[in-house]
């Protein structure tokens, strides 16, 4: 049995016995800076823009809806099933497909759409990241297959940094099979270290902070 062989080799090399408790681990290192909500909003926007993403602050639901409408005007979009987007009236915008709960259908729709519209569970101020926790409301492919991604995020969901995220979510597996951080548009520098955006994921990421 490969399992027993490998564990036996490991224990022999380390001089440990089966079932032996480990030494105490170094305590986790988590540092959360003090920062007010306004600083988090401006920090997030600046960080995302420095990565060639774009960020807009919307004052009120109607402004957010209009910002989305202006971005997708004349194009097709798949929106996630997030109640937050429904409250904003995103699903009823022209060109928007919503309410897809079948995997294959979702794959086809996302592969054909110009925009994917989602919310985000959290955002990180210091890196400009969107935190996407997969669920029935928020599938994985909408922020991945279409060439442009729009995320509408309530401002109170902006955290300071990774440390705060892992303080709130110490065990990602308790929430979902997939927790993904999106930090700017898809990019590569594999040819001559020259930066190109939009390789396999979206080449454009627009965050709308409400």
């Amino acid at each position: 049995m490969a399992r027993e062989t490998i564990l036996h080799r490991v224990r022999t090399a380390l001089g440990r016995a089966a079932g032996q408790d480990p030494e105490p681990a170094p305590p986790p290192r988590l540092r959360i800076p003090e920062s007010g909500i306004d600083r988090r909003v401006s920090g997030f926007c600046a960080a995302l823009e420095s990565l060639a993403g774009s960020a807009t602050v919307a004052h009120g639901a109607e402004e957010a809806r209009q910002t989305v409408a202006a971005l997708i005007a004349g194009h097709t979009a798949v929106a996630s099933n997030a109640p937050f987007l429904a409250e904003l009236g995103v699903p009823s915008l022209p060109g928007v497909q919503c309410g897809i709960f079948d995997r294959d259908e979702l794959k086809r729709a996302c592969a054909a759409a110009d925009f994917g519209i989602t919310s985000a569970d959290y955002a990180l101020a210091d890196t400009g990241s969107l935190v996407m926790i997969s669920s029935r409301e928020e599938p994985r492919l909408i922020s991945l297959l279409p060439p442009r991604h729009i995320a509408v995020v309530p401002r109170e969901r902006i955290l300071a940094n990774l440390d705060e995220l892992f303080t709130l979510i110490p065990l990602p597996s308790q929430h979902s099979s997939s927790l993904v951080l999106i930090t700017g548009p898809s990019r590569t520098a594999d040819i001559e270290q020259i930066l190109v955006r939009g390789v396999h994921g979206p080449g454009h990421v627009h965050a709308i902070i409400l």
């Binding site: 032996q20 170094p26 997969s134 492919l141």
Partner: protein, 475 residues
């Protein structure tokens, strides 16, 4: 047993286009790393390195415990852990699963571990199509080459090389604009993602307390490989364990910065098993293939086992004066640069490539940039000692041994030593002369002096001067 690939190295040195490609790319990576790790931008950088080192040390020293903990939590998440002693067991598992599921097309995201076991070749040998989807890896797969660099696999290819490869292999019109080349790859690979039966990825970290696989990338190909197909298989070495998801806060900050100068890579996926009944998309089956393939050999040595702390950021390659001249393909294995020079001999045995630990100036730059503080120069020295011991056992290095014996004997006899020194000074002549000008330089001494100069001994030794002074003062 391999020998120093002198001819290939000379060819690499003489190829000015290649030299420029390596130097420019590694130079950009060095600058980008420096910009995001400076004390002004990241005041706690050194603290993070220390913490990362301590966590890796702790995990490796209690590895059996964390392997079993990971297995328990991954299983609870609905994933399946497959223990593999070597690459054959990895390939066998994938082949039999593919057969059972009737799978033919596999999309792969970048993984040095699968390069290590030449997984693509094994799968293709059995009629499966395994497509690399990272742009750099895709270019190299088309060109039938192995990665030149841990992080930037096609670092040695210019846009003109890529144009040639795409024209020849994909039958597209010749295209030298990098943006357009990227679009060509996107178009071809997009179809593969949507049609693939299985996605294979590596793993940057295996998180024990959460039973999760963490993968970092910039392109989105790893997300697609692990999301679009109905089966996801992650292949990882046993050293990838970390105790807690909270430790990712430390490692993610270091990995992106050290590898490509990014505070965080574009995508970080923390995947915990197959999709759940409440989720719309994601794979139905989720496997982690946990591979030994020689890693347990490295564990046995309490000093050198720190080689397993490596998080494959490639920073030591970029900064290494040797890598930057000879490039990635002159190292004997897929792992190149300083990290390759310390792990290859430990995986394969020091006498497979006895020259490798010596192919370093021991300048220490690698240890300075290593985000997990691996003492690479010390390990190189230890490996050199092992090579020399092995050579002595084989009856080689007799002359060197004899020379050192003579030296030791001289050092133990002060009078004789002084006499030898004085005769040397007398023989080699006046002050200011250099030994390289002396016809005495023959054999190994001549080889040593071909690149170096050694001053002739002073006409009066220190001991003699000391005696004379004391005598003068006494009088």
């Amino acid at each position: 047993m391999s020998e120093l690939p002198e001819q290939a190295i000379h060819a690499a040195l003489a190829d000015s286009r290649l030299q420029e490609a390596i130097y420019t790319a590694t130079g950009r990576l060095v600058d980008k790393r420096k910009a995001v790790t400076s004390p002004e931008v990241l005041p706690d950088y050194q603290e993070l390195r220390t913490q990362a080192h301590e966590i890796k040390k702790h995990t490796i020293e209690n590895l059996d415990y964390y392997l079993e903990l990971f297995e328990r939590h991954l299983t609870a998440n609905g994933g399946k852990l497959v223990w593999c002693r070597d690459g054959t067991e990895v390939a066998d598992f994938i082949l039999s699963l593919a057969k059972q599921r009737g799978a033919r097309l596999i999309v792969k995201s970048k993984s040095m571990t699968t390069e290590e076991i030449e997984l693509n070749e094994r799968l293709e040998h059995h009629g499966l199509e395994a497509v690399e989807t990272d742009l750099g890896e895709y270019i190299l797969q088309l060109a039938h080459e192995r990665p030149y660099h841990i992080v930037a696999p096609a670092l040695h290819k210019t846009r003109y090389d890529v144009a040639d490869i795409f024209t020849e292999k994909l039958g597209v019109q010749r295209e030298v604009v990098i943006e357009q080349q990227t679009l060509i790859a996107r178009r071809v690979l997009r179809e593969k993602f949507l049609a693939a039966d299985i996605g294979i990825s590596g793993a940057n970290f295996l998180v024990a307390d959460s039973g999760s696989v963490a993968i970092v990338e910039n392109e989105g190909n790893a997300r697609l490989s692990t999301t679009a197909p109905k089966i996801h298989i992650a292949v990882a070495g046993i050293e990838k364990l970390i105790p807690r998801a909270q430790d990712l806060a430390v490692f993610l900050k270091l990995l992106g910065r050290s590898a490509t100068g990014q505070p965080l890579t574009v995508y970080t996926s923390i995947l915990s098993g197959p999709r759940r009944s409440t989720e719309v998309d994601g794979p139905d089956e989720f496997y982690v293939l946990l591979m030994d393939n020689g890693r347990t050999k490295l564990l046995a040595d309490s000093q050198k086992r720190q080689s397993l702390y490596c998080i494959r950021c490639g920073a030591c390659l970029n900064i290494c004066p040797v890598y930057r001249k000879i490039g990635g393909h002159n190292y004997p294995w897929v792992y190149s640069g300083p990290i390759g020079a310390i792990i290859t001999p430990q995986f394969h045995g020091v006498m497979d490539d006895p020259w490798l630990p010596f192919a370093s100036s021991l300048c220490g730059a690698c240890a300075e940039v290593c985000p997990v503080k691996i003492d690479l120069p010390q390990i190189l020295l230890d490996l050199r000692a092992e090579v020399n011991k092995a050579k002595l056992r084989e009856g080689k290095n007799r002359l060197e041994k004899l020379a050192f014996r003579l030296w030791a004997w001289l050092m133990q006899h002060p009078k004789l030593y002084e006499f030898a020194g004085a005769s040397g000074a007398g023989l080699l002549g006046e002050e200011g002369r250099w030994l390289s000008q002396v016809p005495l330089a023959v054999g190994p001494v001549k080889a040593w002096l071909s690149e170096r100069e050694l001053p002739a001994p002073a006409p009066k030794s220190f001991r003699r001067l000391w005696r004379e002074r004391r005598a003068g003062r006494g009088a």
